[in-house]
Structure formats: structure tokens, C-alpha cells
Amino acid sequence: MEKRLIKKAALPGLIGRLSTAATVYGPVKESDYVIFRLLRSGEEPLTDYANSRNAPKQFFFPPREELLRYTRSGRDLTLALADEAIGEAVLFGVRPCDAHSFVLLDMLFDQEKYRDPHYIERREKTTVITMACAHPPYTTCFCTAVDGAPADREGADILLTDLGEDYLAEFLTTKGERLLPHFGDLPAAEATASDRQAAVAAQAASEIQSAPPAKKIKPILDQNFEHKFWDTIHGKCLKCGTCTYLCPTCHCFDISDETKGENGARVRNWDSCMFPLFTKAASGHNPRPSQKERWRQRVMHKFKYYVDNFGAISCVGCGRCVQLCPVNIDIRKIISDIAEL
């Protein structure tokens, strides 16, 4: 594994230059928010930011994506694959929690039997540059409670860690190493850099303030599908779906047809288990008739079903749903309450 040092002041310029040669997505300030988006050619990303409002999963699993196109004229029907070309890309400045989400989404979209070609092609052609959190950016961060860490390498092709004057750049995968020439002539990291990185990582992990017992609740969920506790979460829920749209691991989608004249596209759009129509059948029957069942599904999916199916909790502790729920429903409290059942 190549380990190099990048001068802190030089990093935005290096990525800005990379964006003239490659498709680069990164964190930028847009009005009041930091958002992850495509950098314009030469545009420099933020390097000192908390985290982006939108989860970068959207670059592998876009909010709206054409699956195919069709043309109907009279009785004739012509089908065509969606013509969007998927090219090589770089995601710069992904936080370790969000990089962790890519690994969790791989489990679902890249299963042995049904591989999702749209997701997989983007994923294979994209290099992930993770920016370790030298200090957890929010009080709502709880990555360490869900098998993550502020300087975790999981899901990263390159990991950058702030060592004060420099970033330590660890080129973790072949994909990561292929980007090395784009960074110019970087000095090799001295032997002590790894120790300093480990110290930064340990310090950052110790600063995490939230520690909901997420790994303890699976056996409790196994036994308590029916429990009066489920009546206590959803009372104030507005069914807005904000939690699921911001979530880096939520993967539910709808498929619908959009037609204009003779032409149309079959499109998949993000969907949400918080919406009443999500499971409503044409007969009118809805197996999850109220917000209680929908909340139970959301919690069970992340902390039980995903563990049953893939051996991993489907939450990365980014805290977005906690910060941005308009009625302050807090998944950390839900986890803690379940642990007490």
C-alpha cells in the first residue's frame, strides 16, 4: 500500500486540477448547506467541512434513474436501454460513515443471484476518496455504535487523515493507486506517520458522544415484533420521508413509467417505507396500515432484517435523520429504549 503526504493547503488545488481531467464529485458550499455534487472543471471542493447534507450514495443509486426507454406508435413497440453513459468518476471527501454505507449497499445490489447492473457499473467505475474525521463533526454522530469509526477505511479506495500540517494519503486499493499520478510528486510518508494516524483515529473515536446500544438490540427485536413499545414511536411522525431520503443506507425504490406522446421512460425513483402507499395493494389492502407498522418496518429493517440477511446493521451512525427530522424523532433514543424492553 502506498502512503504519501499531501500538504494541507495544497489539497483543494490538487482536487480542483483532478476535476479538469476526470469526473469528480465533492463537498461544496451551496447557500447554507454543504452538499455533495459534481465539481465544475477546475472547481475546488471544501476540505474543512462537517458532512454533506445529502448522502453520497446518490452517485451510485440516483434519486431518479431511467431503466429503459420505449416508443409506442400504433401497435408497434420499440424498447431501448437507457442511453445514459456511465463513466469513470471520483468521489472526493466522503466521510467514513458514508463510505461504510457503500459496503452495506453492495450487499443488496450485488447479490449472487440478482445483480443490479445500474448500481454495480457506477460502483465499479468510481474511486472513493474518504476524508477521515479528525474530530467527529456533530454531537449526533454515532458511527462507533454501528461498526464504524471516524477514520475507518471500509469502503475507501484512498483514505486521507489530517495529521496537522499534512494529510496522510493511504492508497488502499488498486483503484486508489491508479489515481496516484494525478496527485503529482507526493513525498512518501515517514514510518511514524502511521502511528500518528492511529493516534488521530483513536482520539476521534474517543470524542464520539453518542453510543446507542445498536448491536445489542437484535435479539430483542427477534422476540418483540408485537410489543406495546411500537405504539410509542410514531405518534408525532409526519410521514414526510425526510429520514429515508437523507439516509445513506435506505435503498427502497419505486418503478414508474413517464410517457410523453409516443415516447416514454421507465424510471426508478427513491421511495420510502414511511409513505402509506408504499405497500398498498391494488385491492386496497395495506399490510402496513398505519405509521406504527411503517416505523416498526424501518427499525426492523435496519437492525434485524439486514442482520438476518447480510450479517450487518444497516445504519452507519451519520446522524442525518436525527438532525433533520422535523419533529425530532431520534433513532438513538429508539435504539436505547429497545435495549431496555
Binding site: 447492473p117 427502497c252 405497500t279 395493494a281 391494488a282 438476518d308
Partner: protein
């Protein structure tokens, strides 16, 4: 890479209005390309997404049997946007099919056993596929006695009437057709499915029951089968949930940690009870 979201082009070859109320039709679809037909290898109990471009997709059980090559049949009730548009199609129309999807009736497990098939109303479609599969001359010897109990609310709501008449003439299938309420022309049995099952009282020894129907029928029939001595692992049914992708990704058809589209739709009662009380 195989793209599971792209439908196979098919042509509507035949449309049969099955019931007096005209809201259930059987669509016979033929493949536009021979290679698609060869690739579409299925077994009774599987389903497919019927794809109408401009309306969307609807998951429907395959009503034909793989022993009847050259076409697929789907019996569809007019209910929502897609199925209503399907009902408006005419012979010759082009549409799409995605599949085969899901698991199938446990053919290997059924082999060498006595088979009891219990169907109600419009849920008879994949049971019909299974019956035709077992009755095929190449397959019949693989299975023991076949008993079929099939009921509908009224005579006019029975599906596949010509086929039922043909089965009735055979001596290798024990057929019990019943209706909840007869009419002036009805000569057959009148009575609810659970009651007719009790009259027929199939022996549980080396037997497997395959039960599919409206929830009320299933709920009232199961206790009888337990009483007759059928174990939970020897009773099979097929579950339904709203679906989109059909391949376990879009996240809506799960019951507990199982996706009905990918891990089902066929489950033994033992499996159903382990899924979650949500069902």
C-alpha cells in the same frame, strides 16, 4: 451483465374471458424471439412482472405449465392501473414480461407423495399450472394420488371451465368442484371449500397439501388439515405483497426478513409461521 429490469417482448396471442363478471381474463402471450422463449425456463408457482409501457408493471402468477411450451398464460383480475390497461388490450398487442421470478411449488418434494390441492376463487392460477404439470403424461407417474378441491362463490366465477370438465373425465385425478351458492343450471356440489375438504378427508400419510385462496378460506381450511394430521412442513401456500422490482431490492414486499418476490412466493406453513406475526 444480465439486466433484470428489461422486459422480454411478447405478443398477446389469445384472450379468454374467464368469468361472467368479465373482470378476470386469461392472456396467452407468445415470445417474439425464440431465444427468449428458450431462456424462460420456469416451474409451476413462479410469477412474472407483466409490463405495459406507459402504465407500469404488475406481478402475476404464471397460470400455464412448462409442459405446454410455446406460450405463457396469466389469469388477471382487473384491479389497478396496469391490470385495467391489460384488460383493454386486444389480440396482437405487444407488451413485456419480466421473469420467471420467485421460487416454485416444491416439485421435488411432491414427487412420490399423495397430493392434495385446495384452491379458492381466483387464486387457482398457479395451482392450475401445477395440476397440468403433474397430469402431463411425462410427469404423471412421478406423483401419487392427486386430489383437487376447488371452489368459487358462484358457478360463473369458476376459472378454466373447459379444463375442469376435461379433468373430470380422467380417472387419475380426484376432482371436487364446489360453489358457495349454486344457480338454476348448477348440478355440482354446493358448500364452502373447508366443508368439502372435510367430506373428502384426504389421508395425511405420505401426503402434501398445497393450499391457495382468499385469506378467509385459507384460515378456515388450515385447522382441518392439522386435524387430519398434516404437519406444518407438509402444507404449502403462496403469499402476496405489493411488489415493484421482483428481485428483492426495492424493499416493499418483505414479511420479516424474507422478500416474498425473491424468497417466496411459495412457503411451507412452517416457514410462514417463522416469518413474523405480520402475516
Amino acid at each position: 451483465m444480465f439486466n433484470p429490469y428489461v422486459p422480454i417482448p411478447v405478443t398477446v396471442d389469445k384472450i379468454i374471458t374467464e368469468v361472467e363478471t368479465k373482470d378476470i381474463k386469461t392472456f396467452r402471450l407468445t415470445f417474439q424471439n425464440k431465444e427468449d422463449e428458450n431462456r424462460f425456463q420456469y416451474l409451476p408457482g413462479q410469477f412474472a412482472e407483466l409490463s405495459l409501457f406507459g402504465q407500469g408493471e404488475s406481478p402475476i402468477g404464471i397460470a400455464s405449465s412448462p409442459t405446454q411450451p410455446g406460450y405463457l398464460e396469466f389469469t388477471v383480475q382487473k384491479a389497478g392501473v396496469v391490470t385495467s390497461a391489460l384488460h383493454d388490450l386486444e389480440v396482437g398487442a405487444q407488451m413485456g414480461v419480466r421473469g420467471p421470478l420467485g421460487n416454485h411449488w416444491p416439485i421435488d418434494y411432491l414427487e412420490g407423495k399423495q397430493i392434495v390441492i385446495v384452491g379458492g376463487g381466483f387464486a387457482f392460477t398457479t395451482l392450475r399450472s401445477l395440476i397440468n404439470y403433474m397430469l402431463d403424461e411425462k410427469n404423471r407417474a412421478r406423483f401419487g394420488r392427486i386430489m383437487v378441491v376447488y371452489g368459487a362463490r358462484m358457478p360463473g366465477l369458476l376459472l378454466y371451465k373447459d379444463e375442469l370438465a376435461a379433468w373430470a373425465k380422467r380417472d387419475d385425478i380426484d376432482l371436487h368442484i364446489t360453489v358457495d351458492k349454486g344457480d338454476a343450471d348448477w348440478q355440482g356440489k354446493v358448500g364452502f371449500v373447508p366443508m368439502v375438504c372435510r367430506e373428502a378427508s384426504p389421508c395425511a400419510e405420505n401426503s402434501v397439501a398445497v393450499i391457495c385462496g382468499p385469506p378467509i378460506m385459507v384460515r378456515l381450511t388450515l385447522p382441518l388439515f392439522y386435524e387430519l394430521g398434516f404437519a406444518e412442513e407438509n402444507i404449502f401456500t403462496s403469499l402476496e405483497m405489493r411488489m415493484k422490482c421482483g428481485i428483492g431490492k426495492c424493499g416493499r414486499c418483505n414479511i420479516g426478513s424474507k422478500y416474498i418476490c425473491k424468497d417466496g412466493p411459495v412457503f411451507s406453513l412452517k416457514e410462514v409461521h417463522s416469518l413474523s406475526p405480520e402475516f
